[in-house]
């Protein structure tokens, strides 16, 4: 028998080990949603294979009354449904934790541990006895463990029932079977084990005003609200759900109620070279257009991204980063496209980047991306990642300001053109480096040639050194203007003065915040600057200057954010220390804590 675990009410990690393609995903998200509806902060992370059916997949649910939503690194309750990974799954359970397995088949005596509680439930046998069809038996095994966990973790059964009814609202015939499977698991647990466990759920009120949503859905919603009408894409994991969600939202929200006509157009392109081309063809005509992609797609888009930079066309690209290089690990997360995105394409190019840290920011920054792209007449790349994009995060309710109007930037209309003696595309009339543009079909005087070849400020082809330099130098001025327009970083100050700071981007955020709290409890104070955009603003420069040492936390091997900081800002490279996490799983806070503690110890020893 396992030693008594300390009470982990509303503070534990539940991990479910399944076989891909067996329908476990809906059961697992049902569990997570139930906990959320009981008012307890929760997050779910899906570690899935690049495969349709048969390979191992895991789902990790962190329950945290304090609202910590990063991975903790511990596993308190493991549901081991995959015989192939059983041994590894068992090893992963933290001492004092619980392992639940399907006891239909005998378990190898050796695959046991004395320091954890092991609960066997004959899930397959019960389902085989109660359900006739082979596929149903497989699917219902999942609902049976949902039932068992409902009893063991003290999840509110009425919430579970409500979710089942919602889930199968359009397939009511399936409700009974699912309920029956839940009953089977629940009864077995209640009859055979002491329920609930010490590790369990207790209803609270910490999730009201919040939603559970993934970043790709949120980004798509942002595109709808920003007024984007054209989406072009080539399917690629993990970005595909951006366009799936955009289409679904538009079907509901963008169809003319009278005619059924669509106020949007989605084009599934032949490849990413075409996807970005379609975006540029659309923005050239003044429509808001976007393309979601991931690393390999970004590589293919390079030529057109350089074109858009030089010809000054807006574009919004969502790069839902996955593990590189090359094909890498398509279903694992990383932040390894930072440099490739910042400098996409040959020649002197630099692009505006936005770094959302959660689905809430995916929504907000997606709208901001369209405004910036139009205002600056240049591509804006939103660097999300698989962790944000495909996992459900708990976020504050999305808000919309009815007063919002899109900033279409400097676009000349027909009457303005009519009154102008002449129009020239690339003349900097306002001294901010941003010229005025015109749209095809509006007025004969607005006609000009969009070209990626050398051009002068009037838009004419040139091979003249002075005329060429005038244009590219003006683009630099525009880059300076961008620094005043992009979102500022979020700075979190320690309660006490801190000489060390953390700088990071995107999905590292929950792990860093948890690490800072835990370090503070040990008396280690650090400030934190979460960068939200490139080019870096003055506030980022000031944050660096204020600290003796900067820990740059990021999810790639080569310290790409640190490299970019060193290139762009004035701060000694030797004072920047990297904390890197790049194995492909979402970051857990221990890597930050360990690195800062080690540095503290080293300094004390010196």
């Amino acid at each position: 028998m396992a030693k008594s675990a300390k009470s982990r009410v509303n503070d534990f990690v539940l991990k479910l080990a399944n076989v891909n393609g067996t329908g476990s995903a809906s059961a697992n998200s049902l569990l997570m949603k139930a906990i959320f509806r009981m008012g307890v902060p929760v997050t779910g992370k899906n570690f899935f294979p690049s495969n349709i059916q048969g390979l191992p997949t895991w789902y990790e649910v962190r329950v945290s009354k304090d609202g910590y939503l990063a991975r903790s690194g511990a596993v308190d309750v493991m549901v081991a449904m995959n015989a192939r990974t059983y041994e590894q799954d068992m090893r992963e359970v933290s001492a004092g934790g619980t392992l639940i397995y399907d006891s239909t088949w005998p378990r190898d005596r050796l695959l046991s541990r004395a320091d954890i509680r092991i609960i066997g439930i004959p899930l397959a046998r019960m389902c085989n006895e109660h359900f006739a069809k082979a596929r149903t038996r497989i699917l219902m095994k999942n609902m049976a463990y949902v039932g068992a966990l409902t009893a063991l973790l003290d999840i509110d059964r009425t919430v579970i029932d409500e979710l089942v009814r919602e889930m199968f609202a359009s397939k009511a015939s399936l409700i009974d079977a699912n309920m029956q499977a839940i009953d089977l698991g629940m009864s077995y647990a209640l009859e055979n084990f002491e329920c609930p466990l010490e590790t369990r759920i207790k209803a609270m009120n910490r999730t009201s005003g919040h939603i559970m949503i993934d970043g790709n859905t949120a980004a798509a919603l942002g595109c709808v609200y920003a007024g984007a009408t054209i989406g072009a894409w080539y399917p690629i994991t993990p970005s595909t759900s951006v366009m799936d969600a955009f289409k679904a939202f538009c079907e509901r929200l963008r169809k003319d109620p009278d005619t059924g006509e669509r106020n949007y157009c989605v084009v599934q392109a032949e490849d990413e070279l075409a996807a970005i081309g379609i975006v540029l063809g659309a923005t050239w005509n003044g429509a808001r257009a976007f393309t979601p992609t991931s690393g390999p797609g970004l590589s293919l888009m390079n030529e057109f991204l350089g074109f858009a930079y030089f010809a000054e066309l807006p574009a919004v690209v969502f790069d839902i980063q996955r593990v590189g290089p090359s094909t890498g690990m398509p279903t694992r997360t990383q932040q390894a496209d930072i440099l490739a995105a910042a400098h996409a394409s040959h020649g002197d190019t630099r692009h505006v980047l936005l770094f959302p840290a959660d689905p809430g920011e995916c929504f907000e920054l997606s709208v901001a991306a369209f405004d910036l792209a139009d205002r600056l007449q240049t591509p804006v790349l939103v660097l999300s990642d698989l962790d944000i994009g495909m996992n459900d995060w708990m976020c504050k309710d999305f808000q919309w300001d009815p007063a919002y109007r899109p900033d279409y930037g400097k676009v000349l209309d027909a009457s303005t053109l009519e009154d102008m003696p002449a129009y020239h595309r690339y003349v900097d009339r306002d001294g901010d480096g941003i010229p005025y543009r015109t749209l095809p079909g509006v007025h004969p005087r607005g006609a000009y040639f969009v070209r990626g070849s050398g051009h002068d400020q009037y838009g004419s082809y040139t091979e003249d050194a002075v005329e060429y330099q005038q244009v590219v130098d003006r683009l630099l001025k525009k880059w300076e203007t961008a620094k005043r327009l992009v979102p500022e970083p979020i700075v979190r100050r320690a309660r006490k003065p801190a000489k060390w700071g953390i700088v990071s981007v995107g999905s590292c955020d929950p792990a860093i915040n948890e690490a800072i709290d835990r370090l503070a409890r040990d008396g280690i104070q650090v400030n934190y600057c979460r960068i939200r955009a490139f080019p870096f603003t003055k506030k980022v420069q000031r944050f660096l200057e204020q600290h003796e040492r900067i820990f740059v936390v990021e999810q790639n091997r080569d310290a790409q954010l640190k490299s970019l900081l060193a290139l762009e800002l004035d701060y000694p490279k030797r004072q920047m220390h990297s904390i890197l996490s790049y194995g492909g799983l979402p970051m857990d806070c221990r890597c930050v804590i360990d690195a800062v503690r080690a540095a503290t110890a080293q300094e004390a020893a010196a």
Partner: protein, 351 residues
């Protein structure tokens, strides 16, 4: 400078179109291509066709990729918006432009390298999408700007100016487009303006993708004896099978025609095409037979010209998508943004 502005002199007696514009209003900059280049004749034909169709120049968008042919949009329709894309990628620009602004007339000019080598994928998918545009390939079998390498349309046995002989089979844009489901497939010769101008007009008025493959000799690198894309070869092996006359919607058909000899095709805007068979054995109603005919004559070294296949009424990009009839770039933001109440309702779906 590769584009030189032309001094604009308008003579009193110059013919004016329905908009009161003269042909000078449809011209562009001075060509900087080699003297005698076939592409310049295509440029002239485009100018004449758009002038005669009385389309306001600023309602046309002219697009191209990279190469000699792709330079030509600078030489016609100076008051039209232009887009000189990256190599082989003009079809995707056209797709986006059409998606955003369905009322614009799109004319793409490309070359055999641009469309049949680096841009073959995008070309094929524009045909497949039945994108509403006129797509002209100025086909000369060689890369001019990089000094005379073979392109993918070079025929077997063709000798390059430097002596190299091509052994690879050509990719024929016409056969390809017909096989891909193209709804308007035509071929012509830059030296035959009588055939070219009506085909350009018809291609602009056709709703859907109109391919016009124009044999357009390169005088510098591919106009010699061992070339199958020279002026001399073209004149000798030119094999017109269907002649197309274009009749705008407002005009009555005055030419007398006998049923069976001339087939009228009505286009979406009410204009008509009068197709006259030149070759008895050609069947322009049958896609498979048309491909076979073109291929058989290609083997004999002949290139078949005319409007080789046309089918009006196939759904284009927007018909398939069910897009609103208002160009998407003109739909008011209020119609696009679902608003705060809808967002509150959306939040409810994620609890």
């Amino acid at each position: 400078m590769t584009s030189i502005a032309k001094p604009k002199i308008v003579h009193e007696g110059l013919r004016r179109n329905a908009l009161g514009l003269t042909i000078r209003d449809y011209e562009g900059g001075m060509s900087t291509l080699c003297a005698g280049c076939g592409h310049d004749s295509v440029t002239t034909a485009i100018i004449q066709a758009v002038f005669e169709l009385s389309i306001p120049p600023h309602r046309v968008a002219k697009m191209s990729g990279i190469g000699c042919s792709s330079k030509t949009p600078a030489y016609f329709l100076g008051s039209s918006h232009g887009f000189n894309a990256v190599h082989g990628r003009m079809p995707s620009i056209a797709t986006g432009a059409s998606a955003a602004n369905r009322e614009l007339h799109l004319i793409g000019v490309s070359g055999d390298g641009d469309s049949l080598s680096i841009g073959l994928g995008q070309f094929a998918h524009a045909v497949r999408r039945n994108l509403d545009m006129l797509y002209i390939i100025e086909n000369n079998g060689v890369y001019g700007l990089t000094k005379g390498q073979f392109s993918a349309s070079a025929d077997i046995g063709t000798r390059a100016k430097r002596g190299e002989v091509n052994r690879q089979p050509p990719i024929d844009a016409v056969q390809l487009a017909m096989a891909l489901g193209g709804t308007f497939v035509a071929r012509s010769f830059s030296g035959d303006k009588e055939q070219l101008v009506p085909l350009i007009k018809a291609g602009i008025r056709h709703r859907g993708f109109a391919l016009l493959d124009v044999l357009s000799p390169c005088v510098t690198f591919n106009d010699h004896e061992a070339s199958t894309k020279s002026y001399a070869y073209a004149r000798e092996h030119f094999h017109p099978v269907v002649h197309a006359d274009f009749v705008p919607p407002t005009e009555e058909i005055t030419v007398a025609y006998n049923r069976g000899e001339v087939m009228p095709v009505e286009l979406h805007d009410g204009s008509r095409l009068l197709l006259r068979k030149v070759s008895d054995s050609y069947n322009m109603h049958n896609r498979g037979a048309a491909i076979d005919y073109v291929r058989a004559h290609q083997r004999e070294g002949e290139f078949v010209t005319g409007l080789l296949y046309v089918h009006e009424g196939e759904p284009d990009l927007h018909a398939v998508n069910g897009t609103t009839s208002v160009p998407l770039n003109a739909v008011e933001y209020d119609k696009l943004c679902p608003g705060a109440a809808a967002l509150a309702a959306t939040n409810q779906r994620f609890r």
